[in-house]
Subunit: 224 residues, 2 copies
Amino acid sequence: MNKRANPVLHRDDPDKAPLHGHVKVTREDWLNVARDALVNDGVGEVKVLTLGERLGVSRSSFYWYFKSRKHLLEALLDDWEQRNTQLIITNTELPALNITEAACNFFRCFVDPSQFDQGLDFAVREWSRRETSVRLRIDAADTARIAAVVRMFQRHGYSDYESDTRARIIYFMQLGYHALEVRESMKTRMGRLEGYLLGFTGVAPDPEALKTFIDFAQSIDSHG
Amino acid sequence: MNKRANPVLHRDDPDKAPLHGHVKVTREDWLNVARDALVNDGVGEVKVLTLGERLGVSRSSFYWYFKSRKHLLEALLDDWEQRNTQLIITNTELPALNITEAACNFFRCFVDPSQFDQGLDFAVREWSRRETSVRLRIDAADTARIAAVVRMFQRHGYSDYESDTRARIIYFMQLGYHALEVRESMKTRMGRLEGYLLGFTGVAPDPEALKTFIDFAQSIDSHG
DNA sequence: AAGGGCCTGGACAGTCTTGTCCAGAATTTT
DNA sequence: AAAATTCTGGACAAGACTGTCCAGGCCCTT
Protein backbone atom coordinates (compact mmCIF):
# COMPACT_ATOMS: atom_id res chain seq x y z
CA MET A 1 0.00 0.00 0.00
CA ASN A 2 2.17 2.82 1.26
CA LYS A 3 5.34 2.69 -0.66
CA ARG A 4 8.40 4.62 0.22
CA ALA A 5 11.99 3.93 -0.52
CA ASN A 6 12.91 0.87 1.45
CA PRO A 7 15.84 1.97 3.60
CA VAL A 8 17.53 -1.39 3.59
CA LEU A 9 21.13 -0.66 4.31
CA HIS A 10 21.72 2.48 2.32
CA ARG A 11 24.16 4.17 4.60
CA ASP A 12 26.08 7.25 3.47
CA ASP A 13 29.51 5.96 4.38
CA PRO A 14 30.61 3.46 1.73
CA ASP A 15 33.58 2.39 3.86
CA LYS A 16 31.24 0.55 6.16
CA ALA A 17 29.74 -1.53 3.40
CA PRO A 18 29.39 -5.23 4.22
CA LEU A 19 32.32 -7.42 3.27
CA HIS A 20 31.39 -11.06 3.02
CA GLY A 21 29.10 -13.01 5.31
CA HIS A 22 29.61 -10.95 8.42
CA VAL A 23 27.35 -7.95 7.80
CA LYS A 24 27.46 -4.94 10.10
CA VAL A 25 24.72 -2.47 10.81
CA THR A 26 24.38 0.58 12.99
CA ARG A 27 21.81 1.64 15.53
CA GLU A 28 20.59 4.13 12.94
CA ASP A 29 19.94 1.31 10.49
CA TRP A 30 17.73 -0.46 12.97
CA LEU A 31 15.88 2.79 13.67
CA ASN A 32 15.36 3.51 9.99
CA VAL A 33 13.86 0.16 9.10
CA ALA A 34 11.80 0.33 12.27
CA ARG A 35 10.37 3.72 11.28
CA ASP A 36 9.69 2.39 7.85
CA ALA A 37 7.81 -0.58 9.25
CA LEU A 38 5.90 1.68 11.64
CA VAL A 39 4.73 3.95 8.82
CA ASN A 40 3.89 1.27 6.29
CA ASP A 41 2.61 -1.56 8.44
CA GLY A 42 1.80 -0.14 11.86
CA VAL A 43 3.43 -0.55 15.23
CA GLY A 44 2.25 -4.14 15.46
CA GLU A 45 4.49 -5.08 12.56
CA VAL A 46 7.61 -3.59 14.09
CA LYS A 47 9.10 -6.99 14.89
CA VAL A 48 12.71 -7.68 15.67
CA LEU A 49 12.85 -10.73 13.42
CA THR A 50 11.32 -8.91 10.45
CA LEU A 51 13.58 -5.90 10.80
CA GLY A 52 16.59 -8.15 11.06
CA GLU A 53 15.63 -9.96 7.88
CA ARG A 54 15.25 -6.65 6.07
CA LEU A 55 18.70 -5.64 7.22
CA GLY A 56 20.09 -9.03 6.32
CA VAL A 57 21.25 -9.53 9.87
CA SER A 58 20.57 -11.90 12.72
CA ARG A 59 18.08 -10.93 15.43
CA SER A 60 20.79 -11.17 18.04
CA SER A 61 22.40 -8.06 16.65
CA PHE A 62 19.36 -6.07 17.65
CA TYR A 63 19.86 -6.73 21.31
CA TRP A 64 23.26 -5.16 21.19
CA TYR A 65 21.81 -1.78 20.22
CA PHE A 66 18.52 -1.91 22.07
CA LYS A 67 17.68 -3.41 25.41
CA SER A 68 14.35 -4.69 24.11
CA ARG A 69 11.67 -4.08 21.53
CA LYS A 70 10.06 -1.68 23.97
CA HIS A 71 13.15 0.47 24.02
CA LEU A 72 13.17 0.59 20.24
CA LEU A 73 9.61 1.87 20.21
CA GLU A 74 10.56 4.51 22.73
CA ALA A 75 13.39 5.67 20.48
CA LEU A 76 10.99 5.77 17.55
CA LEU A 77 8.71 8.05 19.49
CA ASP A 78 11.51 10.42 20.43
CA ASP A 79 12.51 10.49 16.81
CA TRP A 80 9.01 11.53 15.72
CA GLU A 81 8.66 14.21 18.33
CA GLN A 82 11.71 16.01 17.06
CA ARG A 83 10.39 16.23 13.52
CA ASN A 84 6.84 17.34 12.94
CA THR A 85 5.29 19.72 15.44
CA GLN A 86 7.86 22.48 15.44
CA LEU A 87 7.66 22.60 11.66
CA ILE A 88 3.97 23.45 11.67
CA ILE A 89 4.38 26.12 14.29
CA THR A 90 7.20 27.73 12.36
CA ASN A 91 5.11 27.80 9.20
CA THR A 92 2.15 29.48 10.87
CA GLU A 93 4.47 32.18 12.14
CA LEU A 94 5.99 33.07 8.78
CA PRO A 95 5.40 36.71 7.77
CA ALA A 96 2.28 37.10 5.61
CA LEU A 97 0.59 40.12 4.06
CA ASN A 98 -2.88 38.65 4.29
CA ILE A 99 -4.75 35.61 5.57
CA THR A 100 -4.57 33.91 2.19
CA GLU A 101 -0.81 33.97 2.26
CA ALA A 102 -0.80 32.87 5.88
CA ALA A 103 -3.06 29.90 5.17
CA CYS A 104 -0.90 28.95 2.20
CA ASN A 105 2.14 29.03 4.45
CA PHE A 106 0.35 26.59 6.69
CA PHE A 107 -0.34 24.30 3.74
CA ARG A 108 3.23 24.54 2.52
CA CYS A 109 4.70 21.85 4.71
CA PHE A 110 1.84 19.46 4.00
CA VAL A 111 2.23 19.78 0.26
CA ASP A 112 5.96 19.23 0.41
CA PRO A 113 6.74 15.64 1.46
CA SER A 114 10.33 16.58 2.21
CA GLN A 115 9.11 18.82 5.02
CA PHE A 116 6.31 17.19 6.97
CA ASP A 117 6.21 13.40 7.12
CA GLN A 118 2.49 12.78 7.01
CA GLY A 119 2.90 9.04 7.02
CA LEU A 120 4.90 9.13 10.22
CA ASP A 121 2.51 11.54 11.86
CA PHE A 122 -0.45 9.37 11.03
CA ALA A 123 1.28 6.18 12.06
CA VAL A 124 2.03 7.68 15.46
CA ARG A 125 -1.57 8.87 15.70
CA GLU A 126 -2.82 5.37 15.00
CA TRP A 127 -0.40 4.01 17.54
CA SER A 128 -1.60 6.53 20.10
CA ARG A 129 -5.09 5.09 20.01
CA ARG A 130 -3.82 1.99 21.77
CA GLU A 131 -1.01 3.28 23.99
CA THR A 132 -1.80 5.80 26.66
CA SER A 133 1.76 7.08 26.86
CA VAL A 134 1.79 7.78 23.12
CA ARG A 135 -1.61 9.36 23.40
CA LEU A 136 -0.39 11.91 25.91
CA ARG A 137 2.43 13.00 23.68
CA ILE A 138 0.32 13.42 20.56
CA ASP A 139 -2.38 15.26 22.48
CA ALA A 140 0.20 17.80 23.53
CA ALA A 141 1.40 18.08 19.94
CA ASP A 142 -2.12 18.69 18.61
CA THR A 143 -2.83 21.30 21.25
CA ALA A 144 0.34 23.18 20.42
CA ARG A 145 -0.32 23.04 16.69
CA ILE A 146 -3.89 24.26 16.94
CA ALA A 147 -2.85 27.08 19.26
CA ALA A 148 -0.33 28.21 16.66
CA VAL A 149 -2.99 28.28 13.95
CA VAL A 150 -5.33 30.20 16.24
CA ARG A 151 -2.66 32.88 16.73
CA MET A 152 -2.24 33.02 12.97
CA PHE A 153 -5.87 33.94 12.45
CA GLN A 154 -5.79 36.40 15.32
CA ARG A 155 -2.86 38.26 13.78
CA HIS A 156 -4.96 38.76 10.67
CA GLY A 157 -7.82 40.45 12.46
CA TYR A 158 -10.12 37.56 13.29
CA SER A 159 -11.84 37.63 16.66
CA ASP A 160 -10.69 35.16 19.29
CA TYR A 161 -13.81 33.09 18.77
CA GLU A 162 -13.59 33.01 15.00
CA SER A 163 -9.86 32.30 15.13
CA ASP A 164 -10.60 29.35 17.35
CA THR A 165 -13.22 27.78 15.12
CA ARG A 166 -11.44 28.52 11.84
CA ALA A 167 -8.18 27.13 13.19
CA ARG A 168 -9.91 23.92 14.12
CA ILE A 169 -11.65 23.62 10.78
CA ILE A 170 -8.41 24.03 8.87
CA TYR A 171 -6.39 21.71 11.10
CA PHE A 172 -9.04 19.03 11.37
CA MET A 173 -9.66 19.13 7.65
CA GLN A 174 -5.97 18.69 7.01
CA LEU A 175 -6.05 15.60 9.20
CA GLY A 176 -9.21 14.26 7.62
CA TYR A 177 -7.81 14.79 4.18
CA HIS A 178 -4.87 12.65 5.05
CA ALA A 179 -6.97 10.13 6.94
CA LEU A 180 -8.53 9.28 3.59
CA GLU A 181 -5.07 9.00 2.09
CA VAL A 182 -6.36 10.87 -0.90
CA ARG A 183 -4.11 10.29 -3.85
CA GLU A 184 -5.27 13.14 -6.02
CA SER A 185 -3.01 14.62 -8.62
CA MET A 186 -1.43 17.91 -7.63
CA LYS A 187 -3.44 19.58 -10.38
CA THR A 188 -6.75 18.36 -8.96
CA ARG A 189 -5.63 19.42 -5.53
CA MET A 190 -4.73 22.91 -6.58
CA GLY A 191 -7.94 23.23 -8.57
CA ARG A 192 -9.90 23.11 -5.34
CA LEU A 193 -7.53 25.34 -3.40
CA GLU A 194 -9.39 28.57 -4.10
CA GLY A 195 -12.62 27.08 -2.81
CA TYR A 196 -10.93 25.68 0.26
CA LEU A 197 -9.39 29.04 1.11
CA LEU A 198 -12.74 30.75 0.72
CA GLY A 199 -14.20 28.30 3.19
CA PHE A 200 -11.36 28.56 5.65
CA THR A 201 -10.92 32.34 5.68
CA GLY A 202 -14.41 33.53 4.82
CA VAL A 203 -13.07 35.94 2.21
CA ALA A 204 -12.15 35.66 -1.45
CA PRO A 205 -8.49 34.56 -1.62
CA ASP A 206 -5.85 37.08 -2.60
CA PRO A 207 -4.98 36.19 -6.24
CA GLU A 208 -1.31 37.02 -5.83
CA ALA A 209 -0.78 34.74 -2.83
CA LEU A 210 -2.87 32.04 -4.48
CA LYS A 211 -0.75 32.04 -7.61
CA THR A 212 2.51 32.03 -5.67
CA PHE A 213 1.42 28.97 -3.73
CA ILE A 214 0.18 27.07 -6.75
CA ASP A 215 3.48 27.69 -8.50
CA PHE A 216 5.28 26.40 -5.43
CA ALA A 217 3.12 23.28 -5.32
CA GLN A 218 3.66 22.57 -9.02
CA SER A 219 7.41 22.85 -8.64
CA ILE A 220 7.30 20.38 -5.76
CA ASP A 221 5.20 18.07 -7.87
CA SER A 222 7.52 18.06 -10.87
CA HIS A 223 10.96 17.70 -9.35
CA GLY A 224 10.31 17.35 -5.60
CA MET B 1 -8.58 3.70 26.35
CA ASN B 2 -11.74 3.38 24.29
CA LYS B 3 -14.41 2.19 26.58
CA ARG B 4 -17.71 0.92 25.46
CA ALA B 5 -20.05 -1.56 27.04
CA ASN B 6 -18.36 -4.91 26.86
CA PRO B 7 -20.79 -7.12 25.03
CA VAL B 8 -19.83 -10.27 26.85
CA LEU B 9 -22.79 -12.54 26.49
CA HIS B 10 -25.67 -10.13 26.89
CA ARG B 11 -28.11 -11.73 24.57
CA ASP B 12 -31.73 -10.61 24.43
CA ASP B 13 -33.23 -14.02 24.87
CA PRO B 14 -32.87 -15.03 28.54
CA ASP B 15 -33.92 -18.58 27.73
CA LYS B 16 -30.57 -19.20 26.14
CA ALA B 17 -28.63 -18.17 29.19
CA PRO B 18 -25.82 -20.53 30.14
CA LEU B 19 -26.73 -23.28 32.54
CA HIS B 20 -23.76 -24.78 34.31
CA GLY B 21 -20.39 -25.62 32.82
CA HIS B 22 -21.54 -26.16 29.27
CA VAL B 23 -21.89 -22.59 27.97
CA LYS B 24 -23.51 -21.93 24.61
CA VAL B 25 -23.02 -18.99 22.36
CA THR B 26 -24.36 -17.95 18.98
CA ARG B 27 -22.70 -16.76 15.83
CA GLU B 28 -23.97 -13.30 16.73
CA ASP B 29 -22.09 -13.44 20.02
CA TRP B 30 -18.82 -14.12 18.25
CA LEU B 31 -19.52 -11.30 15.84
CA ASN B 32 -20.32 -8.88 18.64
CA VAL B 33 -17.18 -9.48 20.65
CA ALA B 34 -15.20 -9.44 17.44
CA ARG B 35 -16.60 -6.02 16.50
CA ASP B 36 -15.89 -4.81 19.98
CA ALA B 37 -12.29 -5.97 19.74
CA LEU B 38 -11.95 -4.43 16.30
CA VAL B 39 -13.14 -1.04 17.51
CA ASN B 40 -11.26 -0.92 20.77
CA ASP B 41 -8.04 -2.73 19.93
CA GLY B 42 -7.77 -2.87 16.16
CA VAL B 43 -8.01 -5.71 13.71
CA GLY B 44 -4.72 -7.16 14.96
CA GLU B 45 -6.30 -7.90 18.30
CA VAL B 46 -9.24 -9.79 16.88
CA LYS B 47 -7.91 -13.17 17.99
CA VAL B 48 -9.90 -16.32 18.28
CA LEU B 49 -8.41 -17.21 21.64
CA THR B 50 -9.08 -13.79 23.15
CA LEU B 51 -12.65 -13.66 21.87
CA GLY B 52 -13.29 -17.11 23.23
CA GLU B 53 -12.02 -16.10 26.63
CA ARG B 54 -14.28 -13.05 26.64
CA LEU B 55 -17.22 -15.26 25.82
CA GLY B 56 -16.18 -17.80 28.42
CA VAL B 57 -16.01 -20.46 25.76
CA SER B 58 -13.39 -22.70 24.25
CA ARG B 59 -11.70 -21.72 21.00
CA SER B 60 -13.01 -24.83 19.34
CA SER B 61 -16.50 -23.43 19.40
CA PHE B 62 -15.41 -20.67 17.05
CA TYR B 63 -14.62 -23.07 14.26
CA TRP B 64 -18.16 -24.32 14.28
CA TYR B 65 -19.52 -20.90 13.30
CA PHE B 66 -16.68 -19.65 11.14
CA LYS B 67 -14.45 -21.50 8.77
CA SER B 68 -11.45 -19.47 9.87
CA ARG B 69 -10.39 -16.15 11.35
CA LYS B 70 -10.34 -14.74 7.85
CA HIS B 71 -14.01 -15.53 7.38
CA LEU B 72 -14.82 -13.78 10.63
CA LEU B 73 -13.10 -10.62 9.42
CA GLU B 74 -15.06 -10.81 6.19
CA ALA B 75 -18.30 -11.02 8.16
CA LEU B 76 -17.20 -8.05 10.22
CA LEU B 77 -16.70 -6.02 7.10
CA ASP B 78 -20.11 -6.93 5.71
CA ASP B 79 -21.60 -5.94 9.03
CA TRP B 80 -19.96 -2.49 8.88
CA GLU B 81 -21.01 -1.85 5.32
CA GLN B 82 -24.65 -2.25 6.21
CA ARG B 83 -24.51 0.34 8.97
CA ASN B 84 -22.81 3.63 8.33
CA THR B 85 -22.83 4.95 4.78
CA GLN B 86 -26.53 4.85 4.05
CA LEU B 87 -27.19 6.73 7.29
CA ILE B 88 -25.11 9.71 6.21
CA ILE B 89 -26.70 9.85 2.80
CA THR B 90 -30.17 9.77 4.30
CA ASN B 91 -29.31 12.61 6.65
CA THR B 92 -28.00 14.85 3.90
CA GLU B 93 -31.25 14.34 2.00
CA LEU B 94 -33.58 15.32 4.84
CA PRO B 95 -35.77 18.33 4.00
CA ALA B 96 -34.21 21.61 5.17
CA LEU B 97 -35.34 25.23 4.86
CA ASN B 98 -31.80 26.58 4.65
CA ILE B 99 -28.18 25.46 4.53
CA THR B 100 -27.79 25.82 8.29
CA GLU B 101 -30.54 23.33 8.90
CA ALA B 102 -29.10 21.05 6.22
CA ALA B 103 -25.61 21.12 7.74
CA CYS B 104 -27.09 20.42 11.16
CA ASN B 105 -28.91 17.44 9.72
CA PHE B 106 -25.56 16.18 8.51
CA PHE B 107 -24.09 16.60 12.00
CA ARG B 108 -27.03 14.89 13.64
CA CYS B 109 -25.87 11.35 13.16
CA PHE B 110 -22.34 12.18 14.33
CA VAL B 111 -23.54 13.76 17.54
CA ASP B 112 -25.81 10.85 18.33
CA PRO B 113 -23.76 7.75 19.15
CA SER B 114 -26.83 5.57 18.73
CA GLN B 115 -26.94 6.48 15.06
CA PHE B 116 -23.47 6.54 13.55
CA ASP B 117 -20.83 4.30 15.07
CA GLN B 118 -17.77 6.48 14.74
CA GLY B 119 -15.57 3.98 16.50
CA LEU B 120 -16.46 1.27 14.02
CA ASP B 121 -16.03 3.58 11.07
CA PHE B 122 -12.61 4.64 12.20
CA ALA B 123 -11.52 1.13 13.05
CA VAL B 124 -12.40 -0.01 9.55
CA ARG B 125 -10.58 3.01 8.15
CA GLU B 126 -7.47 2.08 10.08
CA TRP B 127 -7.81 -1.48 8.94
CA SER B 128 -8.14 -0.32 5.34
CA ARG B 129 -4.69 1.21 5.43
CA ARG B 130 -3.20 -2.28 5.49
CA GLU B 131 -5.63 -4.38 3.51
CA THR B 132 -6.27 -3.55 -0.10
CA SER B 133 -9.63 -5.29 -0.17
CA VAL B 134 -10.84 -3.21 2.77
CA ARG B 135 -9.42 -0.10 1.19
CA LEU B 136 -11.51 -0.53 -1.92
CA ARG B 137 -14.70 -0.79 0.08
CA ILE B 138 -14.06 2.27 2.22
CA ASP B 139 -13.00 4.32 -0.77
CA ALA B 140 -16.34 3.62 -2.37
CA ALA B 141 -18.07 4.58 0.86
CA ASP B 142 -16.21 7.90 1.11
CA THR B 143 -16.98 8.76 -2.49
CA ALA B 144 -20.68 8.09 -2.00
CA ARG B 145 -20.80 10.11 1.20
CA ILE B 146 -19.02 13.13 -0.24
CA ALA B 147 -21.22 13.06 -3.33
CA ALA B 148 -24.28 13.17 -1.08
CA VAL B 149 -22.93 16.22 0.78
CA VAL B 150 -22.12 17.91 -2.53
CA ARG B 151 -25.73 17.49 -3.64
CA MET B 152 -26.84 18.97 -0.33
CA PHE B 153 -24.95 22.18 -0.97
CA GLN B 154 -26.12 22.30 -4.57
CA ARG B 155 -29.76 22.13 -3.51
CA HIS B 156 -29.19 25.21 -1.39
CA GLY B 157 -27.94 27.35 -4.24
CA TYR B 158 -24.18 26.82 -4.12
CA SER B 159 -22.37 26.50 -7.42
CA ASP B 160 -21.02 23.11 -8.41
CA TYR B 161 -17.50 24.20 -7.61
CA GLU B 162 -18.32 25.67 -4.22
CA SER B 163 -20.50 22.70 -3.34
CA ASP B 164 -17.58 20.46 -4.08
CA THR B 165 -15.04 22.27 -1.91
CA ARG B 166 -17.43 22.97 0.94
CA ALA B 167 -18.58 19.36 0.99
CA ARG B 168 -15.01 18.20 1.28
CA ILE B 169 -14.21 20.67 4.00
CA ILE B 170 -17.17 19.60 6.10
CA TYR B 171 -16.61 15.88 5.55
CA PHE B 172 -12.86 15.94 6.02
CA MET B 173 -13.16 18.05 9.13
CA GLN B 174 -15.66 15.62 10.57
CA LEU B 175 -13.12 12.87 10.01
CA GLY B 176 -10.24 14.87 11.40
CA TYR B 177 -12.24 15.80 14.45
CA HIS B 178 -12.76 12.18 15.20
CA ALA B 179 -9.20 11.24 14.29
CA LEU B 180 -8.13 13.27 17.29
CA GLU B 181 -10.70 11.45 19.38
CA VAL B 182 -11.58 14.74 20.94
CA ARG B 183 -13.33 14.21 24.22
CA GLU B 184 -14.87 17.62 24.62
CA SER B 185 -18.00 18.12 26.64
CA MET B 186 -21.14 18.58 24.61
CA LYS B 187 -21.33 22.15 25.90
CA THR B 188 -17.87 23.01 24.59
CA ARG B 189 -18.73 21.37 21.33
CA MET B 190 -21.93 23.30 20.86
CA GLY B 191 -20.20 26.53 21.84
CA ARG B 192 -18.11 26.33 18.71
CA LEU B 193 -20.96 25.20 16.45
CA GLU B 194 -21.92 28.69 15.27
CA GLY B 195 -18.36 29.40 14.21
CA TYR B 196 -18.05 26.06 12.46
CA LEU B 197 -21.27 26.65 10.52
CA LEU B 198 -20.10 30.09 9.47
CA GLY B 199 -16.93 28.54 8.13
CA PHE B 200 -18.69 25.69 6.37
CA THR B 201 -21.52 27.60 4.75
CA GLY B 202 -19.99 31.04 4.34
CA VAL B 203 -23.06 32.72 5.79
CA ALA B 204 -24.22 33.57 9.30
CA PRO B 205 -26.13 30.53 10.62
CA ASP B 206 -29.89 30.69 10.86
CA PRO B 207 -30.61 31.19 14.60
CA GLU B 208 -33.73 29.05 14.57
CA ALA B 209 -32.01 26.01 13.04
CA LEU B 210 -29.01 26.53 15.30
CA LYS B 211 -31.12 26.49 18.43
CA THR B 212 -33.07 23.44 17.34
CA PHE B 213 -29.88 21.50 16.79
CA ILE B 214 -28.26 22.54 20.06
CA ASP B 215 -31.39 21.45 21.93
CA PHE B 216 -31.24 18.12 20.15
CA ALA B 217 -27.56 17.68 21.03
CA GLN B 218 -28.18 18.53 24.68
CA SER B 219 -30.98 16.01 24.92
CA ILE B 220 -28.69 13.36 23.47
CA ASP B 221 -26.04 14.31 25.96
CA SER B 222 -28.25 14.05 29.01
CA HIS B 223 -30.20 10.87 28.44
CA GLY B 224 -28.83 9.49 25.14
C1' DA C 1 -36.57 -42.60 26.97
C1' DA C 2 -33.94 -43.37 23.02
C1' DG C 3 -31.82 -41.58 19.08
C1' DG C 4 -29.52 -38.07 16.48
C1' DG C 5 -27.93 -33.63 15.33
C1' DC C 6 -25.84 -29.54 17.35
C1' DC C 7 -22.18 -27.65 19.86
C1' DT C 8 -18.10 -27.56 23.18
C1' DG C 9 -13.71 -29.11 25.71
C1' DG C 10 -9.26 -30.70 25.58
C1' DA C 11 -5.35 -32.51 23.33
C1' DC C 12 -2.11 -32.04 19.57
C1' DA C 13 0.78 -30.05 15.86
C1' DG C 14 2.83 -26.23 13.68
C1' DT C 15 4.29 -21.45 13.20
C1' DC C 16 5.89 -17.04 14.80
C1' DT C 17 7.42 -14.12 18.22
C1' DT C 18 10.55 -12.20 22.12
C1' DG C 19 14.51 -12.64 24.84
C1' DT C 20 19.04 -15.11 26.66
C1' DC C 21 23.54 -17.18 26.23
C1' DC C 22 27.87 -17.80 24.41
C1' DA C 23 31.36 -18.91 20.98
C1' DG C 24 33.83 -16.68 17.73
C1' DA C 25 34.46 -13.42 13.74
C1' DA C 26 35.74 -8.60 12.67
C1' DT C 27 37.71 -4.39 14.08
C1' DT C 28 40.30 -1.37 16.94
C1' DT C 29 43.70 -0.48 20.39
C1' DT C 30 47.98 -1.33 22.55
C1' DA D 1 51.43 -9.05 16.55
C1' DA D 2 48.89 -9.61 20.49
C1' DA D 3 45.14 -8.23 23.19
C1' DA D 4 40.94 -6.06 24.01
C1' DT D 5 36.63 -4.54 22.36
C1' DT D 6 32.74 -4.63 19.42
C1' DC D 7 29.33 -6.98 17.13
C1' DT D 8 26.98 -11.21 14.92
C1' DG D 9 25.31 -16.20 14.33
C1' DG D 10 23.13 -20.05 15.98
C1' DA D 11 21.09 -22.65 19.60
C1' DC D 12 17.79 -22.74 23.25
C1' DA D 13 13.65 -21.68 26.11
C1' DA D 14 9.12 -19.95 26.64
C1' DG D 15 4.83 -18.07 25.24
C1' DA D 16 0.99 -16.79 21.99
C1' DC D 17 -1.76 -17.85 18.15
C1' DT D 18 -4.08 -20.66 14.39
C1' DG D 19 -6.15 -24.68 12.90
C1' DT D 20 -7.47 -29.94 13.37
C1' DC D 21 -9.45 -33.94 15.48
C1' DC D 22 -12.60 -36.35 18.11
C1' DA D 23 -14.97 -37.84 22.30
C1' DG D 24 -18.81 -36.62 24.56
C1' DG D 25 -22.28 -33.37 26.70
C1' DC D 26 -26.67 -31.01 25.68
C1' DC D 27 -31.20 -30.58 23.65
C1' DC D 28 -34.97 -31.59 20.40
C1' DT D 29 -37.67 -34.82 17.97
C1' DT D 30 -39.94 -38.94 17.81
